[in-house]
Symmetry: C2
Subunit: 190 residues, 2 copies
DNA sequence: AGCGCAAAGCTACGGCCACTAGCCACCAGT
DNA sequence: ACTGGTGGCTAGTGGCCGTAGCTTTGCGCT
């Protein structure tokens, strides 16, 4: 019987995929082990239990989302940057609901936790979106929180089927982006 | 040994309280039974398992939030109605995070499910807020979704400690309400 | 090539969970 | 007072996380 050749990263990625497929709450050591062709206790050689595994999935999700935002927003500003960032977040949450759920449910254990840096990069992208609107510096933090709330709320409500089906959700999302863009433009030039 | 005199409503309320205290994910039949002075299997005489119990907590939460919104918004319109509704939601989520988590994680099983009606009443209050702004009828649904997203996102991020502590969260919330009010006013009178 | 040793896999186990089966005692209605 | 339904119980199953300890593998070093 050859060895499986696992490292923490492989386990984390397999677990993240499973969480996206069946939901984070359904994730278990057994199902991850099964996918990797291994018995459950073997995973503890690479990962420090289910809580640690979830934390690693959260970090992976934050890193991926940060990368996606950075890539998508290259050279954009103002409304284009806002619309692109928003769509990137929404798409990521729809394609990776398990990773995103892990990310939102996690908090860094300390300043050296890689999750902290990854989350900061995501927040940095949101801040970058707002640089295109000439806001009062004191308003910057409020605007970031408003933007996060709107995107996070919309995406989570959408993935949990919180919206009725009858009206197109894409239209509502576009409307919300326009609403925020107009508000930020007006706030920036009063 | 006298009987405990339980009914489904007692069990649901006790479970909801516990969920608020220790988090919905930590809720278990054992801990509910212990609080009610009863062994865990006895609960199955009143409630059809943990999933059913969670569903009942969700319904309770939606009913309570709907009542709170109705009461708080009596006779208010426009910005006052918006600010009051928003603050009501935020306060409810902060005081009853377990109930709210159950509500957002649940979906009605059918049209006769009491949860469906309760959720509709909450949505109705949001729609009532928007009646004070003279929106195009086609925009109404988008505005409801935007409002829900913002409030839901803000409240869940706040309860999961998603915001850094350094800037006052109350200020950010007030800023967001003002932002939405201005946007809706501008949209209603273009 | 062969040897040694760390590490990666395994089986076996303990404790907690949800949930079921089946028993017993209490209280209500006649 | 009897009787039947009902609310509580104990016992038990299967699943989960996580630990202990064993076996085996395969790399590095002589």
């Amino acid at each position: 019987m050859p060895r499986a050749g696992l490292v923490p990263a492989t386990v984390t990625e397999a677990a993240a995929d499973i969480a996206d497929e069946i939901g984070l709450s359904q994730l278990s050591m057994s199902v991850v082990a099964e996918r990797l062709g291994v018995k459950a206790p073997s995973l503890y050689k690479h990962v420090d239990g289910l809580a640690d595994l979830t934390h690693r999935i959260a970090t992976l999700g934050a890193l991926e989302l940060g990368d996606a935002l950075r890539d998508a927003m290259q050279g954009l500003a103002g409304r284009d940057a806002l619309a692109t960032a928003a769509q990137t977040v929404r798409t990521y949450v729809k394609e990776h609901p398990g990773r995103y759920a892990a990310t939102t449910g996690a908090s860094p254990t300390g300043p050296d936790d890689p999750l902290a840096g990854a989350l900061d990069r995501v927040l940095g992208s949101f801040a970058a979106v707002l640089h295109g609107y000439h806001l009062d510096p004191g308003e910057q933090i409020h605007a970031v929180r408003m933007l996060r709330s709107a995107l996070h709320g919309f995406a989570t409500l959408e993935t949990s089927n919180g919206f009725q089906m009858d009206t197109d959700i894409d239209d509502s999302f576009a409307w919300m982006i326009t609403f925020i863009d107009r508000g930020l433009t007006a706030a920036g030039a009063p």
